[in-house]
Symmetry: D2
């Protein structure tokens, strides 16, 4: 059994992680920490977990926890992990960070998009970007795994084969995405109140959403050129789910069969990617799963491809992928404890 | 023009009031106060009100406001109005209090249900319970009008004719009600977050909801006997609306025609009550209106009547009724500025 | 492996059943029939089931299916099962009927509430009411199992211990319940359109909902007296979930501890019942599970108990209980293939 | 008073029209027709309209209606108006067609996108595209007004000033839009059921949505060149509202102030357009109104403008604009009977 701990266990991503790890056959949860609920039991906060996880929430103490656990998951606001993680901790414990602090390899990019200092730049070179389908081998040996953002997971998975196979005019990439409200987290904000979200639709973070440089970094990396792209998120009145609608001009001579080949070449044997072809995805069909549904259409009128990715933002976009990373790192079987299909057909 | 002020203008009830008063032809808004947003303009908080109400939100100062305004609406947490209102203020200004402090004529009942001291018990005898359909005449001359609660408005209007005409075994009254989430107000609480309310249904305040003694007081008053009843509220994942499903055993010999007669006798000429007979109400059909839809069924198998009331909790259940009270008090025409029908048939 | 078939596989209850049976370790699905989609694959209708169930939907032919399958689940509109089932079929095959035709032991009660003839009255005496927690032993040996309705399961489970232990004035029982929209099924009706249900709350079936006699039959049976009660369902704008709020006057001398004892006596060792005491249930905490959450409060002011039951209408209220019945009947382990806890804590 | 009739009165757009016209001070409704509800009263279908519109729904007979009414609104499935309208009818009656039949000036474009014959091509040259802000003068004198589609209204209004002022690389235009479910109409389709739409987000009509040629026609017309663009609609689980997120590369040297100038030049005096600058719109702030909210951001990194338009699909996107067209045509005051602001600030 792998001993695990979760810091930031009562936010939505943290709680989803507790749920998945509670059901994971090769794992023991040894430590749960929470900023707001120290001393309470996890199941006091999430009553549906009674009997499944009744651990008491502790003070956040990474140092101490790193002695008890082989792996620590961090689900913290940005800027906090970079203060707490250090080489000593990493020498005895794997860190899987669900936050943004170790995702961008260039600290100045981080500091300019996040408007905050990075407190452990020296660790960036040893961190691996934990997008499992792309970095499986590096993940297997790294002690600092930067779990990707929700929008970024969905966007990169959808675009990587097309970019990687040089099918797109990369200067034309536009990602128009939409997320359910769990994406905003469990903090007490007016904007997240039921009556402020319900029966409405809006864009936010236009031109400056922090997932932008993350997507650019990874797609650029695939082709060793600098890609600058457009990313626009929207808020949907539903609990879970992200749909990314991705547009790009096709390079001359690229046709539908090239698109299809690229996807099959890259993903045919992936357990958590379903290629739907031209059948359009709906977020409800990936709800509660670690699956990314991908579909595409070529528009001959405009010479564009429109590619779609759909994930559950809390699973493949956060907690599920974190578990997948752990599974890879500890050789537990990549799909262990992770649902690929929705809990019901509705 | 009547000069009006609103204290607590940025909560949901307060904002609804600002909206209604902004469109009221006989009113000038002179003063808006808010605990949280002093110095901001109302339309900064509610952007859809730009051009309609751009007043700057002031510190809450009842004393000062009472010199500028002929009527002040208070939309404050319970316990605050009873500290701020006094005879001096009432000597020059009408107070319409949307909170609970002046609704219960017996201060000890208030103190036992609200677990707080009442700070101006001496004013209780001069206050009138502002349920327009029942107390029109007293309202017309009172300077302290206690606007009823949302559940109570709906429940009392639904049951009053049946109780008042002595058709019910009053010991058997059960009110099972449900409200949209605006009923919880605009405060930053975990329980009011989108993802905590959406896709769920629950009861709350069972056996101890504070609207209980208010309903009991008013129904008791109608028959000059003490009525003790059951009231259970539920939360519905929607923005607005209250449905009260009211059960009671019929007295011997009471039939369907007696029920119908009672409703028509009491409400036939009311502008804001629609009698639907056995056609069941839906909250969407009163959304955005000051109307209370009432329907009923007699069950011969059980000898019970099941009576239904539906209102918009923010209009007839709060701001709309407050305006109706003002209209009565200042002789502006009871229906002025108040919608009786939904803004669209959907 | 038990060979199973489902007739009416593409409605919401049928599809939920296909999902559960696809994941059941001791079952092979041999036959799926659908009135509307003959010749299509199940996963064409429910794309999230691709790879999990790609069987082709066949014509509804009970006779033929009864040769291939050891158990047939019927998810049909009322009145159809009573035409199709006969003694010959039952001689070789277990029928678990999710419809109403074999639930009421008295055919005339059926005919008067359902306004239709019963076409196989002779089978009623051999049918067992498939409420697992109450009739486990009879279910184990019966070939005709009438799976209870959704509201009825929730209502009976909530009230049975209180009625069975003679704690209530049974003439005072009122059940006020609310359901998500899957309860209305997957048929193309205006009333089930998104825009007709969303942002509204209403009662329906007042005084004449067909689950009433079913609840009465079962509660009456517990005490060998005729109970007549009030049942009022409501529609909630959410997909899944039922909450039953049950009211009854307590018999003289009955107190909180008697209520608690009764629940523990009846349910302490039940795998799918969680006793929450005075902590109120929310439907989201049983979503996707076969669990019934039960809570209660005694109101000393009114001498009433208010008891709450919460289930997922498609699982414990339909498909899950059907599987539980099969598990009992075929000795597969009562909880096999049935989730007791929600898929995520949200 | 202008005598009006509505054919297709019980669909969502038709019903919204009945609502608006019932409250219009210069109009008498003389005739309502419905395919599905002949002989019923309008208020039987939409009970909230009781007392406001109790007219009986008649057979659809354009010929007959054209004698009683000065203006007929058609809210019919595409292909039907082109069969029913003729020069004789137009000689005595103004037709405002909410459908698609007279929107595209080129019949072959219509036939290729709609996959159906056009039955009155000879009328196309006399029809005017009823986008009020662009074609006010022609509308004032035309007897055949083609009311624009919902997505098209929003998209064209958002992009027209930028295209018209030659600020964009028109080959780069991408419109990514999302609509509430009323956009799908009131027909009994599985896809429009509550449980099929709720808690999900999806794209549809990708590369082939019929509003595409309409947007292209109008934007092309502004600059007398052929514009081919990308349009992708999505479905949001809410009743009403459209948000169009529009992307385009800026021409060399175009900056933020050019964008702003263009919008102010075109729309500064429009009653139903609100220019929000960089404050992003939310559909809830235009719900129930005839207003189009427009905002924009320039992204210097990508040299793109992202422009947003938000409308209520049933008002400015259908019935409201139809009334606005009537107001223009009959010189009733363009804003008469049309709300510019939401019914409440929530």
């Amino acid at each position: 059994m792998v001993n695990v701990g979760i810091i930031g266990a009562t936010g939505y991503a943290g709680a989803q992680l507790v749920y998945l790890l509670s059901h994971h056959p090769a794992v023991s949860i040894m430590y749960l920490a929470s900023h707001s609920y120290v001393g309470k039991r996890f199941s006091d906060i999430y009553p549906s977990m009674k009997g499944l996880c009744d651990l008491t929430l502790e003070e956040e103490n990474l140092e101490e926890a790193s002695y008890k656990c082989s792996v620590l998951f961090l689900a913290l606001p940005h800027g906090m992990a970079s203060k707490k993680v250090n080489a000593d901790i990493l020498s005895r414990c794997v860190i899987i960070d669900l936050g943004a602090d170790y995702r961008l390899s260039d600290a100045s990019t981080y500091e300019s998009w996040y408007k905050t200092e990075h407190f452990s730049k020296e660790l960036l070179s040893s961190s691996v970007y934990g997008l499992c389908e792309l970095y499986r081998e590096k993940i297997a040996t790294s002690n600092l795994i930067a779990n990707p953002g929700c929008y970024t997971t969905c966007s990169i998975l959808t675009l990587a084969p097309l970019v990687g196979e040089h099918l797109l005019d990369t200067s034309s990439i536009i990602i128009d995405a939409a997320s359910g409200v769990t994406g905003a987290g469990r903090s007490e904000k007016i904007d997240s109140l039921f009556c402020e979200c319900n029966e409405s639709f809006k864009a936010y973070g236009v031109t400056n959403h922090r997932h932008t440089p993350e997507i650019e970094q990874e797609l650029s990396h695939l082709v060793q050129e600098t890609i600058v792209l457009q990313f626009t998120p929207h808020l949907v009145p539903m609990n879970r789910g992200i749909l990314a609608t991705c547009y790009a001009n096709l390079k001359d001579g690229v046709g539908e069969e090239d698109i299809e080949s690229a996807y099959h070449k890259w993903y045919a044997s992936e357990a958590f990617i379903r290629l739907l072809g031209s059948k359009l995805p709906e977020t409800r069909f990936v709800k509660g799963t670690n699956t990314c549904d991908i579909a595409w259409k070529v528009d001959k009128r405009t010479n564009r491809v429109i590619a779609f990715g759909a994930i559950d933002n809390l699973i493949k976009g956060a907690a599920g992928q974190a578990v997948q990373n752990m599974n890879i790192r500890f050789n537990l079987g990549e799909t262990t404890g992770l649902p690929a299909n929705v809990e019901s057909p509705l």
